[in-house]
Every structure is written in C-alpha cells, then in structure tokens.
Amino acid sequence: MSPTLRRRLFSIGCILGFFVAWELLCLAFRVSELILPRPSVILVTMWADFPAILPHALQTLYTTLAGFGLGIVIGFLLGMLIGGSRLAYDTAYPMLVGFSSIPKVALVPIFVLWFGAGTVPAILTAMIMCIFPIVVNVATGLSATEPELQDVMKTLRATKLEILWNIGLPRSMPYFFASLKVAATLAFVGSVISETVASNKGIGNLMMIASSNFDVPLVFAGLFILAALGVALYVVFSLIEGRVTGWSVRSDTFSTGG
C-alpha cells in the first residue's frame, strides 16, 4: 500500500470516526433530538424530506455561484488594478480594509431596500463576502513578482502590458486560486445569511422555518447540505488549481499532464 493511499484511508477513517463518536455519545447520554440530533437521524430526515429540500438547495447553489462568479470577476480586476498601480493601492486598500470590517449581515437590509427581498440580495451578499480575499491575494501575487523576471522582459523591450500578461498574471495565479478556495466557502456564508434574513427560498430560509417549528433534525440537515456544497466547490477549485498552478508546488501531474 502506497504511503499516500494509507494517509487517505487514515484521514477518511478519522472523519467517519468523528460521526460515529457523535452518534454513540448522543446515544450514551440520551441527548434529546431537540438539542443535538444524531447523524443517523439527520440523514434519515435528509432522505425523507429530500423533495422539499431540493429546491431550496438549488436556490442556494444558484445564488452562491452567481455571487461567487461576480465576486471573481470584480475581485480579480480590482486586484489587478491595486497590485499594478501605486495610487490605486494607496487609495483602495484602506477603503477595502474598512469595508471588509463591516459585518455583512448589516448590508442585507440595505440590499433589500434597493432590490427587494429574495434572490438579488443573496447574490450580492455572496459577492461582497468573497471579494475581499480575492482582491488582497491577486494584489499580493502581482507585487510578489520577482524584479529579475521583469528584467528578462525589459531587456526584450516588452511593453507594460506584455509584462503584466506574461509575468504578472501567471505569477499571481497561485495566490488567486488560494483565495478562491476561501472565497468559495465565504460565498455560501453570504448567501445563507441573506436568505435567513430576507428570502422565502434557500437553505437559510429553510433552516429559519425549521427552527421556528422546533424541527431540529431538519435544521441540521440544512447544515449538512451547506457543508457538502461547500466541500464540493472547494474540491472543484482545488482540482482546477492543480492543473493551472502545479508549477508552484512542482507537482508531477502538472509537468506530465501539461
């Protein structure tokens, strides 16, 4: 058995062990389902209520992905601007830091005021949540470009744009993808916050209603689905990251896979 396979199996075993321990501890101490339902109960609820949960899950996925997509585009462009220009850095950076310190839940009522309750505020909140890490990382990546590599281009009389395209962009890709993995999970947080406060659709709304009905297993089912969606998105971007920025970790799959 190869060491990597053994490591994988071991980590899978530990994760399963966590849920088994949860199940057993709840049984041993007779924890009420109203306080902490057992994983098996949650899974059964998920299965039984699947038709009711599915539209909510799809709605959350939709608003999250839409917000995340917008966040990537805007965050990337903003990051390029801030990383590429001193003036933009000096003005935009303090504003961004201030902006990111605002609790995003406070923005939801404003979005509702502007666009009405429902889908749009959820998308915007998801976007707002994920912009900051993307901007910061892209800007950092650009400014981390080694001057020696820029000199290579300068001796060839390359223009600023050519240097950005051939050196700055590829150099900042590892930073960009690192931020995407954080941003993907933050986008879920954003859309669920917004759904909880102001929407009649989505996992956030489902959990709100379930908890007011004391349907605690359904609340936890919602949490499980969110976690699963978050993990799925994380994995997708990890895979893309491996393909695009394998050079930065010198991975063998990168060099042979081209």
């Binding site: 000199d151 290579v152 060839l156 009389r157 920025t245």
Partner: protein, 279 residues
Amino acid sequence: MKPAIATRSSATENVINLEKVGVSFGVASALVTALAETSLRIAHGEFVALVGPSGCGKSTILKLVAGTLDASQGHVFVAGREVGAAPVRIGMAFQNPTLLPWLNIRDNVMLPLKIVPPFRRGFAAKRKTEYRDRVEALLATVGLAGFGDKFPWQLSGGMQQRASLCRALIHDPTLLLLDEPFGALDQFTREELWEIMQTLWIEKRPTVVLVTHDLKEAAYLASRICVMQARPGRIIEDSVVPFARPRTVEASYEPDFVALTQHLRGRIVAARGNPQAAA
C-alpha cells in the same frame, strides 16, 4: 608577449558608449558606489570580456546596457541613442537563473520570439511548427535535446544555465550580454560551449559583452578584455587579444596565451589589493 593597450574604435560605429557613468546604491549615509566615472566604448561586432574581482560592477555594466538599471551619473548610449530608445535586438543571459517557473523549457526559450519584432508577427501560428523546430535545434546544440518538455525545476543548475543561454540566442540578437553564462558548467561542457559561441560569433558577428571569472575563457573568446577593480568599480585595463581565429582549446596552452592569462591574473590580484585592509 605583452598585450597592447587597445586603441578606441571610431565613435560613429559604437554600439555601446558609456560616458563617465556612475552608479551608486543606497542612501547618502550608506552609499555603495558600484561604478565610478566609467567610460567604455564597444564597436559594432566586437567581442568584449569584462573580468575583475567579485563585486566590482561587472553585472552593473551589463544591466546599464540592457536598460534595466539607470545610471546615477553620466550617459549610456546604445546604438547612438539614449539606452532604451534604440531598436537594438538584445539577448541577455543573466547571472542568476531567471527561467520562468510556469513555462517548460521550450516555451521559456521561445519567450523572446513572442515579444521581439519581427518574430512576434505570426507567433501563434508558428509556435507549433517553425519556432518549435528552431528551439529544438538550438537546445540540441547545447546538449539539451529532448528536454523541451521539462520544467526548470526538473533541470540541474548547469542545464538551466544552458537553457538561459538558448533564450538569449534564440532571436538572433545583434547585441549579446552574457553574465557568467558558463559558470555552473563542468570544464568539458564549458569548452564545447566556447567553441559554439566562437562559431556563432564568427558567423553572425553580433556585438558581445561577456562577464566571466575564467581568464582562459576570456582569452579564448574575446577580442578585447577589460579588467575592472572594485570599490569603487572602474575599468583599469583595456587590452586587445591578438590571437588568430578560430581559436582552439589546444592553443590555449601555448606560451602567448598563457602569458596573457597570467598578465590578467596579475592585474586582478593587484586590483583586489588586500580586502581586509580596505574594509
């Protein structure tokens, strides 16, 4: 035999013209003078070697000519114009390996073809055909055939250095700036590359500035050798290498040749002075 002191070539033909150039780093309280009042003229098609102790400003001169460093005093002219303005095709091999880590060796070597006119025209169409063959052929001459698909981190230091040399040569530069291009190579590979460089220079006659610590290399390749001293950096001797071409490694053991390298060695030893006392 004593090498003659070079007479300066006519000003109109100069590809490189440093006029009383000074370069200093740092703030006034801790100023490092890398280069002091240095003048240097290099004519079209010359092969000049810069030798001298570590830290005497050899790389600094190359960076000035390449346009990646600005002079603190004086002027740097390339092809009769202020550096950067002239349409000279420059090929530069840097002292440190500067291959782009996200490109494989082939794409790294191809980089100048993507940027420099006239090669950049039709780059997208030719990169898989004409340019690819061109890169493979060049890699083969330096002993890197079949390494095009590898990434820089998969190559040894000496192989990376040879790939860098290929990147400096791929676009037929008229001005070649080589900063210790053979420093990481074994003696035999090095001698092979001397021969390749010499052939290339005889065939295409680019202007070459070669920085090296190897005096034999300087005497083998260059038509003119400038000796530098450190702190402050300046050129203290400028001599013509009279040997006929093509030169061979065997010839480098002949008395004239040995006398020249010994003379250079003497100048550098004197230029180093006593580093302890100087500090």
